[in-house]
């Protein structure tokens, strides 16, 4: 017999071992997320994919689907919770969209649009973070890092290089580079590594590609991130 859960009342089949996020994605149901990526083992840190499973809030990207689960996803309460979470990401970093070449192609920005974010709500920290432009082909701007660890996972699991890791706690948490200098230039990282283009924000960028697509034609200029399930 086919196994299924319900998401917002819709019957969604799943295969044994799948997470709620995997089942939802296969059924073309959007659950907001930033640290989840279908190619990688889930990390469960951004909490944007929080759903209500049989009355309890859980991360859809890590929670296994089980027969008969009643999952709530697109509720006013959950989306307000997600809005506050993404506003916290904005005030903890320094996300100046008008000056960022990722703008228009940024999943943090697009998810904030999706959640209807019009203001920051919280006071901004304006914590200065180190920018590493030492690499000839790559740029690391920690002001835009949201600690999703996708670069950590891509470098470790696909590139086999283990170049990135998260270090420190609280507002001092930051991305560290595994190299003699602590900079990217002697890390062995290359621009065609999987880790080089996995960043959902503008924290890790390939140089000399910025602003190549005009405003109005960028990824999220004309459609919402919820319509883009295949690329997530």
């Amino acid at each position: 017999m086919e196994q299924h859960i319900t998401i917002d009342g819709v019957i969604v089949p799943f295969k044994p071992g799948e997470t709620i996020m995997q089942a939802a994605s296969a059924a073309n149901i959007y659950i907001p997320h930033l640290c989840h990526h279908p190619e990688f083992k889930p990390h469960g840190s951004c909490k944007l994919c929080t759903v209500n499973v049989n009355g309890r809030n859980c991360s859809a990207c890590t929670f296994p689907a089980e027969f008969g689960q009643q999952v709530l996803n697109q509720t006013d309460e959950l989306n307000k919770l997600r809005l506050r979470i993404i506003q916290m990401l904005f005030v903890e970093g320094n996300h100046l969209c008008p000056a960022c070449e990722k703008s228009g192609n940024c999943k943090l920005q697009a998810t904030a649009y999706q959640l209807g974010m019009l203001d920051s709500h919280f006071p901004h920290f304006y914590k200065a973070h180190e920018v590493d432009s030492s690499h000839p082909d790559l740029m690391l701007d920690r002001n835009r890092c949201i600690f999703c660890t996708l670069c950590v996972r891509a470098s470790r699991d696909v590139d086999g290089k283990e170049i990135f890791e998260i270090s420190g706690r609280g507002i001092n948490k930051h991305l560290v580079v595994n190299s003699p200098s602590g900079k990217l230039h002697d890390s062995g990282m290359e621009m065609d590594d999987r880790a080089a283009d996995i960043c959902p924000t503008g924290a890790l960028l390939v140089k000399r590609q910025g602003f190549s697509v005009p405003i109005g034609k960028r990824t999220f200029d004309n459609h919402e991130i919820s319509e883009d399930l295949d690329e997530q």
């Binding site: 320094n94 008008p98 703008s103 228009g104 649009y113 019009l118 203001d119 901004h124 304006y126």
Partner: protein
């Protein structure tokens, strides 16, 4: 007293780009002034804000005068609106928040390229700079925010026509952008 809805506008630590974008409603301005009258605004050059229905504030807060004007707007305007990225999150002026204020002044007025007779301006009429640039919601309560750098003319038009018609203002997805 006129029965028109009174609108006040100001630019604090902004570039006037939001005001320019507002003016981009073009011929619709003729329709707008049938319904509203402008109080304190760069458009009228009135210097003191009288009691108003809607206050549009562009820019963040970077100096003591910005704080004064922002509080005046909050006191006089029934509905106060943060207009544009700088009012909402400090915007590009807030990029100086990572640097000591003295280092910024030195870089611009003493060590800058092409500076002659280097001196940091200290006329008593100049408002004192704050140590950091702040979004306006950190100083006063804000009723609505219009994101964008700048918000497009259509954002202004949609927001104001909603409000004037007595509707709760909403922005469709295509009008919401942060750049």
């Amino acid at each position: 007293m006129s029965s028109k809805i009174r609108v006040a506008t100001t630019s604090l630590a902004g570039c006037f780009g939001c005001h320019m974008s507002f003016l981009d409603i073009d011929e619709r301005f003729a329709d707008l002034v049938e319904l509203v009258e402008f109080n304190r605004s760069p458009i009228t050059d009135i210097k003191e804000c009288a009691e108003s229905d809607i206050g549009l504030v562009e820019g963040g807060v970077c100096n003591a005068e910005n704080v004064h004007v922002l509080r005046e707007f909050r006191n006089k305007c029934k509905i106060l609106v943060a207009v544009g990225a700088c009012a909402i999150n400090g915007g590009l002026p807030a990029m100086r928040n990572h640097l000591p204020l003295q280092a910024c002044l030195d870089a611009v007025y003493l060590d800058g390229t092409g500076v002659t007779n280097p001196q940091i301006p200290n006329d008593p009429e100049l408002p004192l700079l704050l140590e950091q640039v702040h979004p306006i919601h950190e100083i006063v309560n804000i009723d609505y925010s219009l994101p964008g750098c700048p918000p497009s003319a259509d954002v202004f038009w949609k927001f104001l026509t909603d409000l004037i018609a007595g509707r709760e203002p909403t922005l469709p997805a295509e009008l919401v952008h942060y750049d």
